[in-house]
Amino acid sequence: MTTTLEPARPAPTKEAQPVAERATSRRTGRKLLAVLALWVLAWATLRGRQTLELANADTTGLHDWFNDVRDRVQLLGQDNWFFHGVLGTIASGLDTFVGVLQEHLSSVTPGDWLGWFGVLLLAAWVTYALAGLRSTLLVTVVLLFLGLAGLWTDGIDTLIVTIVAVVICMVVGLPLGIAMSRSRRTSAVVTPVLDAMQTMPSFAYLTPIALFFGIGPACAIVLTLVYALPPLVRITEHGLNSVAENTVEAGRSLGVTKGQLLRQVQLPMAKRTIVVGINQCTMAALSMATIAALVNGPGLGKPVIAALQTLNVGAAAVAGLGIVLIAIMLDRTTTAASERSSPAGQRVAAVGSPGIFGGRTLVLEKLPRWATEEGGRGTDRRFLTPSGRRLVLAVLLLPVLVGAYYSTRYLQLSQFPDLSGVPVLGELTAGPLGGHINDLTNAVVDAISGVTNGFKDLVTAVMLNPLQSLMSDLPWWVMALVLLAVAFLLGGWRPAVVTLVCEAVVLGTGLWYDAMVTLTMTLVATVIVMLVAVVLGVAMGRGRRADTVIRPFLDGFQTIPAFVYLVPALALFAATRFTAIMAAVAYAVPIATKLVADGVRGVSPATVEAARSTGITRWQMISKVQLPMAREALVLATNQGLLYVLSMVVIGGMVGGGSLGYLIVQGFVQGQLFGKGLAAGIAITALGIMLDRIARHAAARFGR
């Protein structure tokens, strides 16, 4: 759930806008062609020399040095005041805290405190108090499903870990975001750190973190923090920055202090955006559930990992479905709660523009609207007055407490009953449901694996192999120059400088060849992502019905752990680079599609109407009017698609992608290759920042 946001800077003011836009882009195109020609020429003559290829088991001095540092820290860590004292204390504090929560809420051993019935009642009551009836129903259904599917303890554990992590994120992230919005320097210092936190694959630093925070909930929470904090900080900063200048000015002219301005003007006005930040933070936290299970983090990741060991797709899918449902539940409920708590005057149609808030700077993934309370309605009809609601809540509290009390006494209310023998409901328990999913997957795989394998061979031969040869079989310096030239032509000197630095970093990691192979796959995957996203996005942008049908699938693919669909993907495409690409495509298509759909929908109706009156065909409408007008969204979708693809490189490494992804997986498992894995993680981060900056500056230049 990487949500990388552009820092909220009014980009156009900083770089001179090209006067004659058309001419510039045509000239750029010609220059790019020239670069391509030189590139192919260099490939034809210098192929196979100085490629810096490193054999799988070989390491460089840097990799060994990383190992050394790890060993020293490990020895030192035993009684060092910081590693053992400070971090150890934090870790044991967190472990104890989560342990207590687990004992009260998720544990169902008889004799422990609240049983499932009590937790369900309390959760429903709190949701009703904060978010309303519709959310309460959603929460109830989701929790019941967890119980039914035999995922009660793991599901509640996931909730506990996610909520604790998100609360810590808010405590740390909100002040940080505020500080960044108030000081450019802070922002400039912190932004690259956030970039690194988001693009660095967690496999690369999981072992060291486990070293300091022990194995268990604390380690899982810290891992989650690293990944979930950046979206919150960025969106907070963006929200505060995008409070209209004249509002701030008006406040200032009234003579308020900086603190008052923040508390009384900026924060309230940015509140909706900040809530979105918290939502994104929650989704990111959930996406770490599977990884956290590798360090004994409690939650739904455990059944997913366990199912993968035996290649039981059905069981993994059921647990994955639990994660998806929890994601939807948290998203809808927090959105509804935040809308309810805003003063009536400020209530805004929250789903008015799903996808993008504040122009082209901020990416939001809005989940479908069917469960969002009052979403998009603008007005809000309530059946009860506030005092009436309070009365209802107070009256309901009694049965809730009684129920909670009984849940500690009766086995049936403590441990979720096994309903596998019951007709209809029994089909939803883990065994049968998993079985159905297995049957369905097998049927689909058998039916189409011939076709898909042919498709794979074709794409590999026509697209992947030539491009990979072009990028990785060259002397490294030729490719470095090509990338620099492309960065400069597309984005100007700023991204060119970033590119130069990133290239130096990749070179320094000693993994240039692997980085280029990874880059190739990333680019091919992005092309496929955009092809799919444009087709689906246009359909969704033009028709409500298509949107309603497609959107839940997009949500599902975005939140379901990739481990769930690895096995069917392997059966369809074998262990190949193409499978790695497809895994990345599955993850990146949703965000890109949502952005494209939003862009198409955002084309002014007047323009569409005007075009229609000239009698053009539907095809002309799409290709000549809607897509060109949505160019901004297309560029943004490409940028996001790229970054999402890159975040799947590690998963790709597990299904035949090789290169950097595999090195990271390997470094994670084999102690002596730790340093090499870490270096690969750094190389991926460098690639990510480079691609992001090029795309961003290109967007600023051509995207309008």
Partner: protein, 324 residues
Amino acid sequence: MARATHRTALVAATAALALGLSACGGGNIEQPSASGSAGGGGKECGDLRIAVNPWTGYVSNAHVIGYVAQTKLGCKVTYPDVKEEVGWQGMASGSIDTIVENWGHADLTKKYVDEQKTVQDAGLTGNQGIIGWYVPPWMAEKYPDITDWKNLNKYASMFKTSESGGKGQLLDGDPSYVTNDEALVTNLKLDYKVVTGGSEAALITSFRQAEKNKTPLLAYFYDPQWFFSEMKLVKVNLPEYTDGCDADAKKVACDYPPYALNKLIATKFAESGSPAVDLIKKFQWTNDDQNAVSEMIANQNMSPDDAAKKWVEANPDKVAAWLS
């Protein structure tokens, strides 16, 4: 806004109160799990934390030992899920008591057993780890001579894939092991290219597809592994392993050595006097035993504890030997 915050606080307070109230009722349900403690005799067992590494054979070892410790010795057993290296770290730092199937790991052994002395060897599991190149059963049947490495080049063209660049593909890459396969291919002058699969799931799925569609596949694999109870893969014989033939990783031209899998135990735990220490040290069984339990877990979808129970009840003699 102020009012909203107030209400949130109120709700939170009420919920906390409710939680507290209901907590007072805790402890009323009978504890059924304490009954096992009678069988142990002698010292209290207390906690036993068995690291669980992410492969099914390991899960079988862990849960059989855990089940015996729980029912016969009255231990309170937990199974932290960790990756191998993290498990070693955990033993050193005191959060894990034992690892019950260890594949070599010379570097970690040196660091923790020889240097830090925080971990001790607890003897062999009795399982033989075999690493090598395998083909699906249908190939061994149709091309019987393929099991000799000398014939591999004859069939190389059959193993071509989109990944192997015109040569035959040798599918590798379970990330857990350093393999010599690249060196082997070079030194045995084989017309093959090593292609990285990337995970156990990738290898198993490839074998399943290959057997089902009768497509050729040559891949790195290992035994004991539950998959063998589903499909009898056939090993390709490389030049026989002799002591020291793999000394120089770059010049290896022989088969992998058989691994004698062992158990590890944290020094702190070893000195605690828990009766489980003896159990872990005495635990031994065969590849067939392990594969039988793994098969129940992997293919019959039994829970590890149920599978362990079934095996323990069917094999009272072996279990008795561990407890003597």
